[in-house]
Symmetry: C2
Subunit: 274 residues, 2 copies
Amino acid sequence: MDKNSLIANIKAKRSFLCVGLDTDIKRIPSLLLTEEDPVFAFNKAIVDATADLCIAYKPNLAFYECAGLKGWTSLEKTVRYIRDNYPEQFIIADAKRGDIGNTSQMYARSFFEQLDVDAVTVAPYMGEDSVRPFLGYPGKWVILLALTSNKGSMDFQLTADAQGERLFEKVIRQSRQWADDQAMMYVVGATRGPLFSDIRAIAPDHFLLVPGVGAQGGSLKEVVEYGMTRDCGLIVNASRQILYASDGKDFAQAARSEAQKLQHDMSEQLKMIF
Amino acid sequence: MDKNSLIANIKAKRSFLCVGLDTDIKRIPSLLLTEEDPVFAFNKAIVDATADLCIAYKPNLAFYECAGLKGWTSLEKTVRYIRDNYPEQFIIADAKRGDIGNTSQMYARSFFEQLDVDAVTVAPYMGEDSVRPFLGYPGKWVILLALTSNKGSMDFQLTADAQGERLFEKVIRQSRQWADDQAMMYVVGATRGPLFSDIRAIAPDHFLLVPGVGAQGGSLKEVVEYGMTRDCGLIVNASRQILYASDGKDFAQAARSEAQKLQHDMSEQLKMIF
C-alpha cells in the first residue's frame, strides 16, 4: 500500500487507529475454547467488530509463535481473512526482526512473500545492512524501532553521544538515508509525550506507528499535539484495551465500543487537518 | 544446560564449534528435494555428520519462518532430533527477539517451552524489561547482541557517549546487572578482532557466541587470541562454510570435513587452557 492510499483511508474512516492483535489464548473468552482454532475465531470476531473503525491491524508475532505450528496457522488465517474481507486495511507484522543481510533477506521473504503483510517492524541495532533487505519490496514498508514505549527504552535509546545526539535521533537521522517516507516509518511510543517534537524535527513527514495508548498509559491527546502532521502522520495502536474489554459473550461488542471511543477521539483530532 | 556442563562438553570434544543451521531450501542439494521434508532431511544429515565435532547447533529462525508452517515443522523436528539423539548438544535459537515485557514473555514461552532450546539470541535496543522475561527459566540462557559481525554494526554499536563509552560496552555493562555469567552470554562477531579485549575488560567470565568465522571473513586465531578465557568462554559458529561445502551427494561428508578442520584448529587452541 502506498502512502497516499493510507492517507485516503484515514480521511475516509476519520480514524488512524490500528488494532493490535496480541491474541493470548489464556485471555480470550472461554466460550471460544471449543472452536477448532480459538485464536483465529477470536481474531475474526474482533476484526469483524472493528474493521470500519480502524485503518490497520497489527498481529504481534510473539503471540502466535508461542503456540508453534498451531500459532502460525492462526496467524496465516488471520492475515488471509483480513486481506480477503477488508482489503483496505494496512497489515503490520509486529516482529521486531533484524539480522545480518542474508538472514534479514529471509525474514523479508517470510513477511512480504509468505505472509504478505504490508509492513514489518524492524530493530535497528545491527544497522543499515540488517534493514536494507526489507526495503526491496515495492509498496511494502519497514517500521523501524526508534523510541519505544517501555521503561527499558531509557536504558540505551536516550543515551546521547559526544555531540549530544541521542541514539533514537541517530537511528532516525541515519536511516533516512536508507529509505524515504514512502517506504519507512518509525515506532515511537505514546508514552514519550514532548519527545515527539524532537522526532518531528528530524522526520517531519514520516508516518509514526505509536503503541502505548491505553494499557501502557500513553495519552492520545499528547501524541496528536506533538506528533500529528498535515497528513496525520500517525498510526496509533491499541491492543489489550480493545481485545480484552470483556471476557464474556459480548467480547466483540465490548471491543467495538472501545474502538469506537478511540475512533471518536481521533475523528475530533482529525478536524484540525482534514 | 548449566555453564559447567557446557565447559565439560568443550573439554571432552576438544571443540567449541557451533554449527549454524541456516538451512536455505534454495541451496541444499537437489537430490534432497524429493524428500517429504527436504530441510529436515538436510539438517538430520548435517547433524549426524558433525555431532561428534561440535558442542552446539544454532538454527537461524529466519530460514524456517520464511517457509511458514512447513518451516516451523522442519524446525521443531530438527530440535527434537538433536535433543533425542545428541542430548549433550547446546541448542541456540538464533532469533534476535526483544519486545515489551508481556511480548518478550510470549517469545520466551515459544523458545523455552514450545521449542525447548537452551538459549535464544535477544536484541538489546528496548532495554532491561525486554530482556528480563527470557531470564526466568532455570538452565536456559539469553545471548544478548553486543557487537555484531556485519558492516552495519558500525552504524550504532560503536557510537560513544559523552563519557567515551561505546554502545556495545554500555549494553554489556548494564546487562551484567540483569543476569550473571550463568544465564547470559553475548554475541560478538569474529570480525571484531582486538575489540574482544575491550569486551573481556567488562565481561571477563562470560561466554561469547562468535559468528562470522568463514563466509563473513573472521579469523579463529584472532578470536582466540583476544577472547579466550581459562574456561574457553567461546562458542564459535560456522554456518555456510559447513552447510554448503558441497551440493552433491557427498554434501554431508564435505560438511564433516569442514567441521573437522575447524575442530582441529580449536583443539590446538584449547591446548593452551585444558
